[in-house]
């Protein structure tokens, strides 16, 4: 594990973030991304396009192993550093299973010894995704559609991200009264992928159907492994959303500085300037909470879980506001594919509902801070 500097974001972390920013700007500038995803949207047949060779390169750089323990062949960077990287991923609206593979790593790290083979696969460069949600996107044992009985998985996991871009799924299933976790190959017998038709042009979402899939639990304490890992996962997603929101801010500011109406640049008008400032304030709120949450997790601080709820709640509100105002302030052009705002708009609306929306996170936070709601 690399040494933390005093403040929680060391030179290594700064270099990683810088490297990512440069690589993505060069390899997947928004006009290239747009050309790639726009082609697909017209007919919507087959999997949504992404740049798999860029992904391989990211794997070679070690990014997909950043959250794996060193003991499992991973890099085990501080979460602050990984969150910094995710901000750049968001800024580029990059399609691909990085967030999901990191999320799976974080859960596996909570599982213990039985997760070793799975971690080895990830350390070797495989990608994985969480297959843990019910049809409403929640992951409580009693609601899950997937059930484990007599050594077999049956049912359907919903809202699985990066469906056809990963080699493995970390599956949550009802097992008696509890929730157990399983490691299932995407190509295993009885596994079938059903693609969702989604609004977001950068993601690949769908359902994984299990029909008598032979499996062995990684852990019977699935709920507590998920609970332990999710604060870090929320934080990474929040960071990614902050990065995408920042792209919208900067792009809209740029447009407001050049676009002239009434012989003035748009940004001269307070009706444009002040909402942009409000957006900046919201983004900064999210970014600081992300950093604070990541620091708290790296430190093992008690407040970490609260901060993660705060970060994701903030990210959701920031994303909604960023998406809304950047289309509006672009005016007519923002309503078309002539500019690229819509790609981020859709990606942010997607991220907003993933793994809990703002209101859900605030309700969880309230339970912790105020105490439970009386029944």
């Amino acid at each position: 594990m690399s040494e933390l500097d005093e403040i929680g974001f060391g030179e290594e972390a700064a270099l990683l973030k810088q490297q990512a920013g440069r690589l993505l700007a060069e390899r997947m500038p928004i006009d290239r991304l747009h050309a790639m995803v726009a082609g697909h949207d017209a007919n919507r047949s087959g999997p949504p396009p992404w740049d798999e060779s860029l992904w391989r390169e990211m794997v070679d750089l070690g990014w997909s192993a950043l959250a794996l323990p060193e003991s499992a062949g991973g890099i085990e960077m501080p979460l602050t550093a990984i969150a910094g990287l995710m901000e750049e991923i968001g800024r580029a609206a990059l399609p691909g299973p990085l967030l999901d593979t990191l999320a799976v790593s974080l859960v596996l790290a909570e599982v213990g010894d039985t997760a070793q083979p799975a971690m080895t696969a990830l350390a070797g460069g495989d990608a994985a995704s969480l297959a843990i949600c019910d049809r409403y996107g929640a992951w409580r044992a009693e609601d899950l559609d997937v059930e484990y009985r007599d050594g077999l998985l049956n049912g359907r996991a919903w809202h699985v991200q990066e469906l056809s871009r990963v080699q493995h799924f970390l599956v949550a299933a009802r097992n008696g009264d509890g929730l157990s976790l399983f490691w299932v190959d995407a190509s295993a017998d009885g596994v079938q992928l059903e693609r969702d038709d989604i609004v977001d042009l950068t993601r690949d979402q769908g359902r994984v159907v299990f029909r008598n899939v032979v499996a062995m639990p990684l852990t019977l304490q699935g709920q507590s492994a998920l609970d332990a890992a999710f604060p870090a996962i929320w934080t990474l997603l929040a960071s990614e959303m902050a990065g995408a929101s920042e792209w919208l801010l900067q792009t809209t500011v740029e447009y407001a500085c050049t676009r002239q109406q009434f012989d003035r640049p748009l940004g001269w008008f307070q009706a444009v300037k002040h909402p942009l400032v409000n957006l900046m304030i919201k983004i900064d709120e999210t970014r600081s909470l992300v950093f604070e949450a990541a620091c708290a997790m790296d430190d093992g601080a008690e407040e970490a879980r609260d901060l993660a709820h705060m970060a994701k709640a903030s990210a959701c509100d920031t994303a909604a506001f960023a998406a809304n105002r950047s289309v509006q302030l672009h005016g007519g052009i923002g309503f078309t594919w002539e500019c690229f705002v819509h790609v981020y708009f859709k990606r942010l609306l997607h991220g907003r509902s993933l793994w809990g929306g703002a209101q859900w996170h605030r309700a969880r936070l309230a339970e912790r801070v105020i105490g439970p709601l009386a029944a």
Binding site: A38, D41, A42, R44, C133, R135, Y136, G137, A138, R140, W158, H159, D196, D197, I198, V199, D200, Q205, Q260, Q261, F262, F269, A271, V272, A320, N324, V327, Q328, G331, G332, G334, F335, T336, W337, E338, H342, F345, L349, H350, S353, L354, G356, G357, Q359, W360
Partner: protein, 408 residues
């Protein structure tokens, strides 16, 4: 009998009875598959043809354009269009496809065109046989509409049009365009002239723009030496800005002359963006922990929208009582802003309530209400941007109603 109904004249009441009967006698058969939700979303000729047929039938029955003079294709009635609108809406009649023609071109022609043009152009607007589009906006003239750069140069009895219009809904179906063009570079406002331009002439290229939703729906229109007759000019040379204000007044619903229109009714099928549909959605939609209708926070947000929506319809009655108003235009000029932001905020709430399932697109079998809501949300920006952005609407309200100094 409610007071609102008591305010109708006997002529109106008779007309209502007539409309209701006609609509009963002429039930609308099944529509072609995949009908769009509104006129601006029409992309297929089959859908357009279906809608045009029904518009024509209703016009022949006297339900469309009925407040216009008989010689222009109307019925010479007074305040009867609102009755026809109500009855058509209630009967679930198909929406009228010629939205630009009916809502913008017709009143402008009525006020500013020659007698000859009125007799020529108005009847096919009402019948729906000639679809219209609007040629105001340009890449450099959005909110700053007067910045129009497309030129009209006089050449004898003709005008030569060159330029580039954008966001032109229905251009590919249109026979006519209302066109704002520059005839004088020396004065921003007084240098504009208003024309009706034949879209069937040479010198016009139409190229579709992709909307945020991924659908094509409006267009760019390029004019290259389009030649039009001087008789297609409305009002005087240099008065284009004033004429355009007539158009916008009607587009924003702020005039006394009611536009023929059919408001899609919520039939409990969740097909409309209104509070009732949202409440129905809330009964099943959930993120985590039960339906939104049982969540006090969503209940509160739903009631906030319901209150805004109900207040908007309550404006109609109060607008008729001078003693309860401080400025004659104060309610009318809010119309566009209230409608467009209410739809946007309603769709946004639906996205929140549907949680992870809000990610699903139109066409996905598991999408709530068939994927209506994310598209309603995206499309809502059309209304908060077009015909004067919400920011411009607030300027107008602040300046014209409150009397605050002009921002520009």
């Amino acid at each position: 009998m409610s007071q609102a109904q008591a305010a109708f004249s006997p002529e109106q009441e008779d007309f209502r009875t007539y409309c209701r009967q006609w609509l009963l006698d002429n039930p609308v058969g099944p529509a072609p598959a995949g009908m769009p939700s509104g006129p601006l979303e029409i992309t297929q000729s089959e859908h357009m043809a279906h809608l045009q047929r029904w518009q024509k039938k209703a016009w022949e029955a006297g339900l469309i354009g009925c407040d216009y003079p008989v010689e222009y294709g109307g019925q010479g009635r007074q305040h009867c269009q609102e009755i026809a609108n109500e009855e058509m809406s209630r009967a679930g009649f198909p929406f009228l496809p010629n939205i630009v023609g009916l809502g913008m071109a017709a009143p402008t022609i009525l006020h500013h065109a020659s007698e000859e043009l009125k007799r020529e152009l108005l009847p096919p607007i009402f019948s729906g046989e000639e679809i219209w589009c609007q040629g105001f906006s340009e890449p450099g003239a959005g909110s700053d509409l007067a910045n129009v750069q497309a030129t009209a140069e006089r050449k004898g009895d003709k005008w030569i049009i060159n330029g580039h219009k954008v966001w032109t809904s229905l251009a590919h179906f249109s026979r006519w365009m209302i066109l704002l063009a520059r005839t004088d570079r020396s004065d921003k406002y007084k240098g504009l002239t208003y024309f009706v331009a034949p879209m069937f002439a040479d010198g016009i290229t139409i190229s579709p723009l992709v909307k945020i939703t991924g659908e094509s729906g409006f267009n760019e229109v390029f004019f290259e030496n389009l030649e039009i007759d001087d008789r297609y000019r409305l009002d005087e040379v240099g008065t284009g800005w004033q004429v355009a204000m007539t158009t916008l007044l009607h587009e924003r619903g702020a005039s006394g002359l009611r536009t023929p229109e059919v408001i899609p009714q919520d039939q409990g099928d969740g097909g409309t963006v209104d509070a009732r549909s949202l409440i129905e959605l809330a009964r099943t939609a959930q993120g985590d922990g039960g339906p939104a209708a049982q969540d006090p926070i969503y209940r509160d947000r739903l009631m906030q929208l319901l209150i805004r929506e109900r207040a908007k319809s309550a404006h109609e009655r109060r607008a008729q009582v001078p003693a309860l108003q401080d400025h004659p235009q104060r309610l009318a000029l809010q119309n566009k802003l209230l409608n467009s932001e209410l739809v946007q905020d309603s769709a946004a709430l639906a996205l929140d309530m549907t949680g992870s399932t809000s990610t699903l697109a139109q066409g996905d079998a598991n999408a709530p209400d068939g994927g209506l809501w994310p598209y309603a949300y995206m499309n809502s920006f059309g209304a908060t941007i077009a015909a004067g952005t919400s920011e411009i609407q607030r300027n107008i309200l602040g300046e014209r109603v409150l009397g605050l100094p002009r921002s520009k």
